[in-house]
């Protein structure tokens, strides 16, 4: 629970990148060596790889859009602080990315290992609560 939103976001993006690298290496290796029955022929593996590529690929544009929004805002002074409402928009966008990466990756163990939905439910609850608390701290203290 003590994790900041920035740490959580960094961790999840690194996880997404690590999993994407493994996928890319595997796909590249099998394609270059003309392996029969490639693992990417499996529809779920294929869709997971595609979704990860899309989500991480969109990161740059989303970050740029949030940066522009942040720069365009005129700060107003509050009680002992400066108010910037664009941070709420950043929080919403980036928390969606964390949940997106989590949902993409978690599908694989559910299908291939037959993971119990209760475990997924508990893990999702922990993640969502951590995100909410992280976001609240971000909005309240700015970091």
């Amino acid at each position: 629970m003590g994790k900041s939103f920035m740490d959580l976001f960094g961790n999840f993006m690194l996880i997404g990148l690590a999993v994407l690298s493994l996928f890319a290496f595997g796909v590249g290796f099998q394609e270059e060596n003309n392996v029969e029955n490639q693992f990417i022929d499996n529809s779920l593996m294929n869709s997971t790889y595609g979704n990860l590529r899309t989500q991480l690929g969109e990161l740059r544009d989303e970050s740029q859009a949030q940066k522009t929004l942040f720069e365009s805002e005129n700060p107003t002074s509050g009680f002992g602080t400066i108010l910037l409402f664009s941070i709420v928009s950043s929080g919403k966008v980036f928390n969606g990315m964390i949940v997106g990466v989590f949902n993409t990756i978690i599908k694989l163990p559910i299908v291939f290992l037959g993971l119990d939905p209760i475990i997924i439910s508990v893990l999702s609850a922990i993640l969502i609560l951590t995100i909410i608390i992280g976001l609240w701290r971000l909005y309240k203290l700015g970091g």
């Binding site: 099998q30 029955n37 990756i105 291939f112 290992l113």
Partner: protein, 104 residues
């Protein structure tokens, strides 16, 4: 479990001989991969313990799972590991890597 003898082996190439055990036990190479993973994890754990006095099993398992995935990938190239066994190795390895990165 009664398995067919080597006299039934048709493909005498290295790949054929390596693939022969899977005709008897479909999960033969999955078990080999599991053994490889356990041995590598324990070696890394012990090496870290000797080197730094403090060791982390999750890190050792995370690094070992990357190596296991690569070895399994090599197995698919040699046609001794079927795609569904590779997917199993990949998914289990991925979970360990995710836990390792989350812990960091």
């Amino acid at each position: 479990m009664v398995c067919a003898g080597l006299e039934t082996l048709v493909d005498n190439s290295i790949t054929g001989i390596l693939a022969f055990p899977t005709s008897c036990d479909y999960y033969f190479y999955a078990k080999i991969m599991f053994a490889f993973f356990i041995i590598l994890s324990l070696i890394l754990y012990q090496r870290d313990k000797d080197k730094f006095l403090k060791s982390d099993m999750i890190s050792a398992m995370g690094v070992s799972s990357i190596a296991t995935i690569f070895v399994a990938l090599l197995g698919t190239f040699l046609k001794i590991i079927q795609p569904d066994i590779f997917i199993l190795v990949f998914v289990i390895g991925m979970i360990l890597i995710v836990i390792w990165l989350l812990k960091k």
